[in-house]
Amino acid sequence: MRITCPHCGERDRREFYYRGAAVDLERPAPDAGEEAWDNFVYLRDNPAGVTRDLWYHEGGCGAWIVVTRDTVTHEVLKTELASEAKS
């Protein structure tokens, strides 16, 4: 599998560390309540299809990247820097 790092270009998957669903970027307020935090830390859509997840270019430039890809075909549709993807 190859992922395009916005800085380094297309690189082998081995250079990247995988974190998981990009919901990790939407950290709730401390007082958002049990449900919000359960949704944030634990519950997942886990789609069979297009998903957005977080990768760290650990063996490369050190950027955290949001990758839009298909979990069934492994097609990579889009990559962007986490620092810019954050709404």
């Binding site: 599998m1 190859r2 297309e10 082998d12 998957r13 560390y17 974190r19 990790d24 970027l25 950290r27 709730p28 401390p30 935090w37 830390v41 977080l54 760290y56 650990e58 050190g62 950027a63 955290w64 075909t73 492994h74 097609e75 990579v76 820097l81 986490a82 620092s83 810019e84 954050k86």
Partner: protein, 977 residues
Amino acid sequence: MRINGKGLIDRSKPVPFVFDGISYSGFEGDTLASALLANEQRLMGRSFKYHRPRGVLTAGSEEPNALMTVGSGPTQEPNVRATMQEIYPGLEARSQNRWPSLNFDLLSLNDLAAPFLGAGFYYKTFMWPKSFWEKVYEPAIRRAAGLGALSGRDNTDKYESAYAFCDLLVIGAGPAGLMAALTAGRAGADVILADESNRMGGRLLAETYEIDGKPGNVWADEVLAELKSMDNVRLMTRTTVAGAYDQGTFAAVERVLHHTERRPNGAPLETYWRIVAKRSVLAAGALERPVAFRDNDRPGIMTAGAVRAYLNRWGVSAGRNVTIFGNTDDIHRTARDLLDAGVHVAAVIDSRHDAPLSKDYQVLRGAQVCGSSGRKGLESITVRRPSGEERIHTDCLAMTGGWNPSVHLTCHMNGRPTWRRDIEAFVPTPGSVPGMSIAGACNGSFSTSACLREGIAAAGEALEGLGLTAPDIALPVAEDASYEITQLWAVPGKGRAWLDFQNDVTVKDVKQAATENFRSVEHMKRYTTQGMATDQGKNSNVAALAILADATGRGIPETGTTTFRPPYSPIAIGAYGAGAEGEGFKPQRFTTSHKASVARNAPMIEAGLWYRPSYFPKTGETTWRESCDREVKQVRDAVGVCDVSTLGKIDIQGPDAGKFLDFVYTNMFSTLKVGRVRYGLMLREDGYVMDDGTTARLGENHYLMTTTTAAAGEVMKHLEFVHQGLCPDLDVSFTSVTEQWAQFAVAGPKSRELLSGLLDQTLDDESWPFMACGQVEVLGVKGRLFRISFSGEHAYEIAVPARYGASLFDILIERAEALGGGLYGMEALNVLRIEKGFITHAEIHGRTTAYDIGMGRMVSQKKDCIGKTMSERPGLEEAGRERLVGLKPIGESRQLLAGAHLYNEEAEPVRTSDQGYITSVCYSPTLETMIGLAFLADGPDREGEVVKMVDHLRGVTTLCEVVNPVFFDPEGGRVRG
């Protein structure tokens, strides 16, 4: 039998080799199989289950029968395909899976028991008595099963892995592949052409076709010459492209030295390639299908294509009196080739009623071979015709049931092939592998002309995708015969007709599976083991599922097919894992004091890729405990020196550095004074402790964080995530400086004395109180000093640029020893920190919270921080949790063991009464007793209670008193010293 004037072997270069202890001779260019056939050695192996005598079936890597062991000793290679192994002087091969010999194999008795060993028989028996499975049945089955044997010794052959990149990868160098490579090469594309054979040309080497009026192999050599001359084209022979992966990544294995005895030192036997290609052309050709009929597995019965290959490529006739059987015009091509070579053709049996007749040889139309005889080599076949059955004497039967396109790679990414009725075969479904175009026989186009044409077209498709323009290239003139086939899977009749030769799966087995309702093709495969042999069903899957389809009254498309998975042909574990043997497994990290520690005979232990000294034995000390106790005492009484460079150090700078640290640590750092150090606790977002360490404030916007050795990388990743992902607006940056500094702990009442004179300033409690830090000059070199302690003693950590580490270490040792102190290692460090109740990853092992380790109060209520909210979940704070305590043995047994569990004094030591467990123990020379840290249910509330430590594994029970985890100097007076 060798045929004069035929073949592409070099008859001027005879090659001696040995098979089963007998010397034979072949020629350069021969494979083990062709050379043995030339010597009329038909018996080459034994089947897996019934140990039936077997000869070679094919001429390629799909060979299921002629598997041999090459070499002996540490480099012994089992399961080598005789059809792929090139011979070389000194080659020694042995037959497999037979005892005592290939000719006489005792386990061939299994063949007589065949009626009881049918599909899935073992699921129905061997159940009584229960204990017999492991003791009797399984060992017997295991001994009988298996093919070749590993040497049992460490493999001393070298393997290598490498990466290659290209615009276009062309897989297979037959007519289609050559044409594709030529077209792309002329267009200027960056091309890799890979072929599993030692010589490129594919079927052109095995047939007598002409292209542009030249023999096919001559034409191929001309194309190859042009390709060689292009520096944008890379030819990879003896290279099997074995797997297709995501985004144009392919796995391939190059057999670099299997064809020679020459093994220069350091030279790889095989190279495992990861090829990254923007586009690919699959031109992998097709594999011929055997026909199932009674006893179709005898030595001397092989595919017609193999017979032609041995004749045309290797100048060998597989027999002296050949019969040919099949359902396509290939059988007539085979007859013509043999006759031209002067080989007698006894009969051609064509299952097609409208088969062409010939004046040169006898054609039996609408006839089928329904049996054979000859235990260890074919003697005769029985032919069934409308007029009745007749026996024909023959020593070789060339058979064909048609061809299967090599769709394998197109299935590796879950693509499913498409059934084509007109050729009775599966072809690749377009788009199965993104960026891959299919050309030639593997696309179901079997004529030479079609292969050439599709090669050009596939290359054109790829070039378009690459944004290159295809050159005008003339289609070479070649035969364009149509492919007429009638179904011929299995000849009806009694007896056993083989499908999967190696696994001994017969037509009966497949039918029985259907009867027992293993109707799904996957069920049939798994129940009968059809297609699970070393050829992965290349020779038999399609026929087997045709028979299943028939038995279940479905068509082949509805029946579907099993999935082909990587690798296309087997790859040595050593190739995939090249470079990782021994030290290559993971990087080694050495401190600047490593050599000095080793010189002092310190056993070095692995710690997060680093190596650290366990203890420093002095002459006269016979156990590690003696050394450890001495080192501890030296620290408590005088001064000790320890290399702590392996701890992670992260330089944190920026206007928002303090704010950021407040967010990642549970406690406050924005309030820390410049020139001071503070202990910090870090949580994961789930509320559990992630890591701890001290962080120093070197300037207004400048901090230096230390992490544990093990978690350094994880913490850096975490900081970057929190910054980039959660608060990118903060102006702060991180730089790992772990490697920049050599840092040494100097601990003990005499630590200040040791350092005096080394520094450009004097150390007093005014300017250097506990937890102070700052710049210092160390013997004229800019360094750093931290007054921190992991031992509870008056201590410092002194840091200099790494280039001076070794030198400073020597100086520190000298000074320490002069003061009655010395070095201390991990063992002593561990004792010192346990005596003080300091935690390591033995305690913060991922399941503990700040509350559990008695640091609940360190989670500041004034601010938010990573992990705070989730750490407040009811389950993480409520009564009953196992929390950190100290333990002291009382009563008879004084032994404590880490990993032992805790129970109430009177309770049964069973799970349901478990109260906790011990994480760290040591003998404290300071307190002259064993002490331990443990997690105990509601521990801190139980100080003074007695609990029972039970270690079932080591048979130790010890009564312990629950105490505060800080065993030594609880007031902390010494550290301020």
